[in-house]
Structure formats: structure tokens, C-alpha cells
Subunit: 333 residues, 2 copies
């Protein structure tokens, strides 16, 4: 618990530094999720948006814009855009994954139905496009439209890669870039673009968001085999039960003996899972150092993220973004 | 059969007049639905796009642009955009409606799964945004982003209005504008905008698309109580089984006796449907002239669509669009 308070600090400091902007983002989100004719839309959206999400992605946009000296109004639109895209993907993810819990609460598809989750997700996607059009920046729209396509492509790839023991680390990285890093890197990049930052800074912000996103997702996948459900708001072993090929599993499969491989074929490819299999999977991963290797990969990405920021102005917000990269991997240390 | 050949003529003439453009749209669609990493995306998309759809919406965009004298390349992007948005909504609709047939073939959610339909729909939405960004026209993006939001809002409204006998004709029209007319009117309007047409012509194109879309949907809803499954590629009585409040039902409910009302409460609100109930529903609608009234409404909208075109150049394409308005309602005459 005390460890948790310490490790929350980088996010809290960022939220404090961006408090005024975040309040405007919150107002804009509430304003734009309203629907005169279909009250179910704000109900479903509010369930998710007000569930205590950390607003990490909007903070990335706000911090990038402010760090690059932006003084206009449109970083608020872009932060709200990014949160709407994120919320829409969560709604659709929970339908695709048939999830029952998200952030420690019942999912929207459970409280209402899959139909509402699909359609309200579509509505939020459309709303996000309206918001980005209002900025009048074609480049921003291009970045966010590309990110949306990468996200959807990554999700489909994850669907077809699931249960396939031949999944490589390269495919895993493509899935991770789609499901997580594409929106992180778009969030930071558009902050720099709207501020009119020099090209090298815009590129650095993209690199930072991308590496941070990959580190974040590797950690998330590690926690699925280690964290308690209290800490991460989902159940340990979800990915195992859904037969997802995440990084520690891929690393362990690559080093497995024939007997161990037969185990993976049974539980992942055939989906024949029994009591004790999760513990057995974790024992195999431990035997081959798969968790430790995945942890080392996450730390490498976090270090890349931190290093990318060196071309940006040496300001308190830069230090907070650097600390954020460390914080993301501190969850597994 | 011979009637069907006659009534197809306006669409065939439009397709012939726009043949070169339509070929380019087809190439662009095939090009942009590709995915290097996730082959399931073009598989699912091709199943739907190559299923013999009439390409009505892209033809509206092409015809509007050409009628307004456009000679640039971007009407092709916009026609492909409109078809991608349409295809994405079909994929999500079939998940929401749990449909098994579309255009006389098994639906994608049946052939693959709901997950693929949700995610490939998201991918096509993103692709449509990329295409419209390439036109560089903020106004076009604004129109299409607004149309997307109206579509999603209409779908949610339809979800919450289903099974509710208190649904009014005004709510029905909002649903219809969302599910059909919003994309028709955006399709024609962006054709005029990309051509740089005068404001009165752009407004007229919007009005034409809107009225055409409403007429089209009323006719579709009427055919659900009248056409054979051969003609429309879906089963008669689908809306009845899904307890949807479409225009002929709303009109019949409003004029129903207490006994008839009890019937509607049982079959629509309680969903307790038995053999012979569809025929009973059609008998009540016939008794109150509900089908005839709905047919008259459709013809009024078609006439509005035709009339709106009077401010546009008096060219063969205009005559074809006028004939199209008549054709849309000819399906019920």
C-alpha cells in the first residue's frame, strides 16, 4: 500500500501540473458525450469514463503540447479526442473479449448489452472525429486517422494470433503497437504538432509515446501472470484463460522442452485447461527466465522513452514525463 | 421478373454514366481494404463488398460531383469513404441485430464471428477517415464526421425504441435519418462541396439525399411486411420478429382498438409471438390502411427529393437522379 502511494507520485505530479487543462478536458468530455435523443449513450460512456481511469492518454497530449510551449485552445480538443478513442476501443474490446470486469467494475456489455457497447463505441469514435476536425489541422487528423487504423488492425491481428503457438515476438510487438502504443504515440505526437514544435521534437514525442506504450503493455501482460486482482482491477490469469500469446508465454514456448511444449499445445492451442494449469504455466515460465526477460525488455523500452525526450526543452514537464517512463515499469519491480 | 428488369433501369443508367469513375472507386476500395498483417480484414470486407451491393451511396457522391462539374480526383476518395462507412455500419448492424443473412448470403458474423465483425468494422471506419483526410477539405470532413455521429446515435435510439409501443413517428424519423438518410445526404452533399458548387446547390443536394434516404428506408420497412425473400434478400417479417417499431406498425398502433392494442402489447412489448401472429399483424395494418399511408409518405419524400434538384444544372445526370427518386418508391408499387 505504501509502495503503491510512492509509485503513484509521477502520475499525481503530472495531474497536478496539468490540473487546469484536465478540468477543461473533463468538461469537454461530459459536454460531447451527451446525446439529446439517446440517453443510453451518456449512461454507458459515463460508466466507463468516470470509473476512475487515470486519464493517462489525455495527460500525454496536454503535457506534450505544454512542453512545446502551446498557448492555444486545441490541446483540450485533442486530449478529449484521445480519451474518446480509448474509451471506444475499451467498449469494443470488452465485447470481443467477453469481459465481465474492467477497472474493478462490471463491464458495460454486462450491465447493458453487447449491442449498446458496439453502438456507443461507434458514437464515441464519431465524436472523436468531430473534435479533431474542429482543430482545423490536417496533419493532426492524418496522425489520428492512421492511429485508429493501426489500433483496429492490431486488434484483428491479436484475434487471429490468439491460440497460435507459432506467434513470434515480432507479431506480438505488432499487436502491442496496435492495441496500446499507436494511441500513446499519436497522443504525444499531436501535442507537439498542435504546438507547432520543430520536426525533431515531434519525432521525439512520437518515439517517446511509442516506447512508453510498448513498455506499458509488456508490464500489463506480465502483471496478468503476477499482480493480484486488487492492484490491476482484473483477474490474474485472464490472458491465460483467453489463450493469448503474450510476451512471457512466447519466450517460454521458444525455450520449452518437448514435454513442456505438449503442455502449451494442450492449454493454448486446444484450450483444454484444468485446475493447476495456470500454476504449471507460471512454473515453466519461471524455469526459463521468461518473466525476467520480458521484464528486461520492458525496462529497455522505458529507457528508450526517457532518452527520446532529450531534444525537448529541459522543463519540469519533461522531468515528469521521464519519471512516468520509470513509473510504468516500476509496477513490476 | 420483367417488372424487376424495368425498375432496375434508373440504377443501371446511373452505373453506365459513371462507369469509369465506378471502376476507380472499385480499385480504391480493393486497395484500401487490404491489410499487410491481418488477412482476415480483406476476407471479411470482400465478403460484404463483393456480395452484389448496388453501390448506391458511392454513385450518389459521384453523380453529385459530376453534375456540379467536378474534374478533380477526390470524388473517388469520397465515394470509397461513403462505401466504407456503409460497410462498417452493416458489419456492426448484423452483430447488433444477430442477423444470419444479408443480401441473400450468410452474414460475416455467422461465417467468422462477432469479434471479427466488430473489429473489421472499426478498421473500415478508420480507413474511411484516412480517405477523407486525403481530400484536404475540412468541410467534407466536418460533414462526414457529423453524419457518422448521427448514424451511431440513430442506431442507439433504434435500440432503445425497439419493443416500445409509445414510439412516435417523430422518433421513427430520427431513427431513419440516423440509420439511412444521414449517409445518403452526406454522400450527395460532399459531392457538391468537393466540386465547389454554389451554396444553394449544396443545400439542394443535401435535401435530395435526405429525402431520398427517408423514402428508401420507409420502402425497406414496408417490404419487410410484403416483399418475398427472393426480391429483398432478407426474410419477410424480420422486423416483426425483432419487435421493431417501423412506420406501418406505428400507424396501425395509433389507430388500434383495445383488442388490437392488446395484440401489439403481447407480440411487440412482451415478445410473446406465435404462429399466425405475423399474418394477424398484417391484417390489422391493412384494416387501418397503415401500409397505404406509409406508402403515401414514402412517395411524398420521393417527390421532395425530385423537386430539390431543380436548382442543379439541367443535365442527363440530374434526370437520372430524379428517376432514382421514383425508382426507390417503385419497389412498392
Amino acid at each position: 500500500m505504501s509502495l503503491d502511494i510512492v509509485s503513484q507520485k509521477p502520475l499525481d505530479r503530472l495531474a497536478a501540473a496539468l490540473a487546469a487543462d484536465l478540468a477543461l478536458v473533463g468538461s469537454m468530455i461530459r459536454d460531447r458525450m451527451a446525446s439529446e435523443h439517446a440517453p443510453r449513450i451518456p449512461q454507458v460512456t459515463a460508466h466507463l469514463i468516470e470509473a476512475g481511469g487515470k486519464r493517462l492518454r489525455p495527460m500525454l497530449t496536454l503535457a506534450a503540447a505544454r512542453l512545446c510551449g502551446y498557448a492555444g485552445p486545441f490541446h483540450i480538443h485533442l486530449a478529449a479526442t484521445v480519451e474518446f478513442i480509448h474509451t471506444a476501443t475499451l467498449l469494443h474490446d470488452d465485447v470481443v473479449d467477453e469481459s465481465a470486469r474492467r477497472r474493478g467494475r462490471p463491464t458495460a456489455n454486462l450491465l447493458w448489452d453487447n449491442k449498446s457497447s458496439v453502438l456507443v463505441g461507434d458514437y464515441l469514435f464519431s465524436r472523436s472525429f468531430q473534435l479533431m476536425v474542429e482543430t482545423g489541422s490536417l496533419r493532426v487528423m492524418d496522425i489520428l486517422a492512421n492511429a485508429s487504423a493501426t489500433i483496429a488492425e492490431g486488434e484483428v491481428l491479436q484475434l487471429t494470433a490468439a491460440q497460435d503457438l507459432a506467434t513470434t515476438e515480432a507479431v506480438y510487438l505488432q499487436v502491442v503497437r496496435g492495441k496500446t502504443a499507436a494511441l500513446f504515440s499519436a497522443a504525444t505526437e499531436v501535442g507537439g504538432v498542435i504546438a507547432g514544435a520543430p520536426e525533431d521534437q515531434v519525432r521525439a514525442l512520437h518515439t517517446y509515446g511509442d516506447a512508453l506504450g510498448v513498455a506499458f503493455q509488456i508490464v500489463d501482460d506480465l502483471l496478468d501472470y503476477g499482480g493480484s486482482s486488487e492492484v490491476i482491477g482484473k483477474n490474474t490469469g485472464d490472458d491465460f484463460r483467453e489463450r493469448k500469446l503474450t510476451l512471457p508465454v512466447i519466450k517460454a514456448v521458444a525455450l520449452s522442452s518437448p514435454e513442456e511444449r505438449a503442455f502449451w499445445v494442450r492449454v493454448i492451442e486446444k484450450g483444454d485447461q484444468q485446475m493447476g494449469d495456470l500454476e504449471q504455466a507460471m512454473a515453466i515460465m519461471a524455469r526459463h527466465g521468461a518473466m525476467a526477460q520480458a521484464r528486461a525488455d520492458a525496462m529497455t523500452y522505458a529507457a528508450q522513452a526517457r532518452a527520446a525526450l532529450s531534444v525537448l526543452p529541459d522543463a519540469p514537464l519533461r522531468a515528469m514525463l521521464e519519471d512516468l517512463a520509470d513509473f510504468v515499469v516500476s509496477r513490476i519491480n
